[in-house]
């Protein structure tokens, strides 16, 4: 039954993923798919990962579970049991996509490989999300988020000069990339299936997903034999001799934090305008006066000395220290200055642009007695709006709906299955 109000209303997804793949089902579900999260009896172990609602470590209160499992209904099922496997295959008959993130070979050993599923539903799409892929020399390797961002090349690019590589503290990221690329692969296969009737197996590598997030770092190696490393607050340009390296401080302190500020000129009109506008503003307040007549069109990143660069940056830096992030950003927008605040999470929730675009979604959590603000739509579509269909499921929340209402088990049967650890 197709729901024409959303983009993927006719699509059913069975979601067997662990934390490495949760985002996949959420993405498809938020676009309208009917996603059924299948958890082991007792619930997904990821429910023990915080942060937690009011800091209470409770499997029904994990904020990371909440945020990655919206728009999914939830059932419990032990697919390692004969009865559980049977129920799963019955659900496969009604499914379009099965997403999983088990170690390669696990489902094969249970008789639930892609070809096993295809015997039950010939056009089934199976999306397998693993750290390195189904096959290959590292296919049996384990990976956590830190290992994922390290082996995908992202960690090497981050951090301060002279300190170890780091990951972003807003973890996880590798899992997010894996889940999102899993959703893309699933959608590619679903489109093909709708057009031709043919399903297929989608094999997603978390390592490759991270690799696709490192911009032109591979190209800088391939063509220039340069390995990018984290440069902290600085932008380092490598220049031909005799000029040597130029180090420009981009992350500058301000009154209540830091801002990212571009300051230069030369061939880039945008930068010339920006630098001039920033100096003009500083001059209005009696600061950076020595830069009043500086001709930014003559600024040349290729030949300027480190001393002069430090001097002009330092001069404008003194002005930045007298203003808050909010003041600087507001003027930057007005005066076309290429400057942005280094926002923290609180700043993000108060961002006026997000507010003006109605970015935030209110999601009801009746069992907590409140509504929580979530990040909203990654794209806007008028005819088939993205939306959060429901909050993340409680453990076994939809067992009744699926097992009894849909699969027509009796309550007695559900009781037997539950007591035997099948559900």
């Amino acid at each position: 039954m197709k729901d024409s109000k959303t983009l993927l209303g006719g699509c059913r997804v069975l979601d067997l993923t662990d934390v490495k793949g949760h985002l996949c089902g959420k993405v498809l579900g938020d676009y309208g798919a009917d996603v059924i999260k299948i958890e082991p009896s007792g619930g997904d172990t990821a429910r023990n990962i915080g942060p937690f609602y009011q800091n209470v470590a409770d499997p029904e209160k994990s904020l990371s579970w909440f945020s990655s499992n919206t728009s999914k209904r939830g059932i419990t099922l032990n697919i390692e049991t004969p009865a559980g496997k049977d129920l799963f295959l019955r659900l496969v008959k009604s499914a379009d996509i099965v997403v999983e993130s088990f170690p390669p070979g696990y489902l094969d050993n249970l008789g639930l490989s892609y070809s096993d599923l295809r015997a039950v539903k010939s056009d089934i799409i199976m999306t397998s999300i693993t750290p390195f892929g189904q096959e290959g020399p590292y296919a049996h390797y384990q990976a956590t988020d830190l290992v994922g961002v390290s082996m995908g090349g992202l960690a090497r690019l981050l951090g301060d000069l002279g300190r170890p590589p780091v990951r972003m503290s807003c973890d996880p990221q590798a899992y997010m990339h894996a889940g999102l690329h899993g959703a893309v692969g699933s959608m590619m296969a679903y489109y093909h299936r709708e057009m031709t009737g043919e399903g297929q197996h989608v094999d997603v590598s978390m390592q490759a997903a991270v690799l696709l997030a490192i911009q032109h770092a591979p190209e800088l190696w391939e063509l220039m034999k340069v390995n990018v490393v984290g440069t902290g607050q600085f932008f380092i340009s490598v220049r031909p001799q005799p000029h040597g390296l130029l180090s420009s401080r981009m992350i500058m302190p301000c009154e209540d934090g830091y801002v990212a500020c571009t300051f230069g000129g030369g061939a880039s009109m945008g930068q010339v305008v920006s630098s001039k506008a920033l100096v003009d503003w500083a001059n209005e307040e009696g600061m950076a006066l020595e830069l009043k007549d500086y001709d930014f069109t003559q600024w040349d990143g290729a030949t300027i000395t480190q001393e002069e660069q430090d001097h002009i940056y330092g001069t404008v830096g003194e002005f930045l220290k007298t203003k808050t992030k909010a003041e600087l950003y507001e003027e930057a927008v007005k005066r076309s200055i290429m400057l942005a605040p280094c926002n923290n999470i609180e700043d993000i929730t108060k961002n006026v642009q997000l507010e003006a675009r109605d970015f935030w979604e209110q999601v009801e959590h009746p069992e907590l007695g409140e509504t929580i603000t979530y990040p909203g739509a990654p794209v806007k579509m008028a005819q088939t709006p993205w939306r959060i269909g429901c909050r993340a499921p409680l453990i076994g929340e939809h067992n009744q709906e699926i097992y009894v209402d849909e699969l027509r088990l009796t309550m007695e049967e559900v009781g037997i299955l539950q007591a035997n650890g099948v559900i």
Partner: protein, 413 residues
């Protein structure tokens, strides 16, 4: 040749920089016919960014451009020229999809916004993606990727507790946003098949990027907790960090999730006496003495290469991995096995590689067959064979500057 998913689907690509081009690139890699509409007078910024072949700048020499534009055609067209309307009208009639990533308002000024295009072809699926969205008080904010990184909280949360915010090398949202658009496009095409209707898809890259920090947003909204920089620490796992190895600036990531993995790690380290100390016995003690623990582990890893540590620990069931440099990625045996790097031969850049998608499809694998186009490389083919202009009309376009040429390019790239 196996069937391609988007065979027969046509795309007019007005996008530039990174986000938009990745969308149309992946469509092209799955068989869509993608025509980039470019101008020598207003170059896609990536055509002007290094790395250039041999370090020599040039509009067709940038590998930063090629990585986002494989499999596509390119025509040159001055969209500000009044006669360009004759060309864009035919392009719009021909296409299924139109994509753009200009600063908000630009396409409307050119008469190429969704409303104008859908009057010519009501069935088009049109996507607009830009940094902060098509409307709102900050829509005109012009900055680079690292400005969006800063606004999106990434700079403030990357680095060390005793340090300052850091630059994050990739314009991170650029590698999150395109995928949401791609999924929406595929859905819109299916919907069009049923309803005959086109669709407009609008995106703020800033908003798309925020979906990846959702748990931390909820943590603030619910608990008032503000995420801070914490190096390589984890909430629960310990040890959890990046440790120095033999060689110049070589590192390995090691993460231990439970007591079993801790015992395995100790075994691999040869069960040194320090691992029996009370202060490292049990997860709470280890967490409390994490700094010392990291130092001790670093003293062990220092005697091995990162590859040796990874191999040893993975074989013992402990998640560990080389902190790979770009060079390492090219030599990575698993990425080689998956053919993650594909070889292409570009007319100006010569042999080079590009990266394949992160997923493989068993029945309809992608085809990365053609390198990124030179600017206007396919003028003759597209203007004549696809759009149906005569040789005389094309000659007039060139003379009148509707079709731009190298003579129109800036002298300094």
């Amino acid at each position: 040749m196996a069937k391609q998913i988007f065979e027969g689907i046509k795309v007019i690509d007005f996008t530039w920089a990174a986000t938009g081009p990745q969308v149309s690139r992946e469509l092209a890699e799955h068989g869509a016919t993608v025509i980039r509409v470019e101008s020598h007078k207003r170059l896609c910024p990536l055509r002007t960014y290094p790395p250039f072949r041999d370090g020599i700048p040039g509009v067709d020499r940038s590998a930063f451009f090629t990585k986002n534009n494989t499999n596509k055609y390119s025509i040159s067209l001055d969209l500000t020229h009044p006669k360009s309307r004759e060309v864009t009208r035919r392009l719009i009639q021909w296409t299924d999809i139109i994509g753009e990533s200009m600063t908000p308002g630009s396409m409307a000024r050119l008469g190429l916004d969704y409303e104008s295009c859908s009057k010519i072809n009501p069935k088009i699926v049109y996507f607009s993606t830009c940094q902060q969205g098509q409307y709102g008080p900050h829509r005109d904010f012009g900055g680079y990727g690292y400005h969006v990184n800063a606004v999106a909280g990434l700079s403030a949360c990357t680095g060390w507790a005793d340090g300052e915010p850091t630059m994050v090398f990739p314009a991170y949202s650029d590698f999150i946003a395109p995928w949401y658009v791609l999924i929406a496009l595929a859905g819109a095409l299916l919907r069009r098949r049923e309803t005959g209707e086109g669709m407009y898809i609008e995106q703020s890259q800033f908003e798309a990027g925020l979906t990846f920090v959702a748990p931390h947003i909820l943590d603030f909204v619910v608990n008032g907790h503000k995420l801070t920089r914490n190096g390589n620490r984890d909430r629960y796992m310990c040890p959890h960090g990046i440790y120095p190895c033999i060689g110049q600036d070589r590192w390995v990531a090691i993460t231990v999730a439970d007591d079993y993995q801790w015992h395995q790690l100790c075994e691999m380290m040869g069960n040194p006496p320090w691992t029996f100390e009370q202060r490292f016995d049990g997860i709470l003690n280890r967490k409390q003495n994490e700094e010392d623990l990291d130092q001790k582990i670093g003293e062990w890893t220092r005697d091995f290469t990162a590859e040796q540590v990874m191999t040893m620990l993975q074989e013992a069931g402990v998640p560990a991995g080389v902190v790979e440099t770009a060079e390492d990625l090219f030599n990575d045996p698993q990425l080689k096995f998956r053919q993650q790097f594909r070889k292409l031969d570009h007319p100006v850049i010569g042999p080079h590689t590009c990266q394949a998608p992160a997923y493989t499809l068993s029945e309809t694998p992608c085809e990365i067959a053609r390198p990124a186009p030179c600017l206007g490389e396919h003028n003759e083919y597209i203007y004549r064979d696809i759009l149906g202009f005569s040789d005389d009309e094309i000659a007039d376009f060139i003379v009148e500057g509707v079709i731009t040429t190298e003579a129109d390019a800036p002298t300094k790239v």
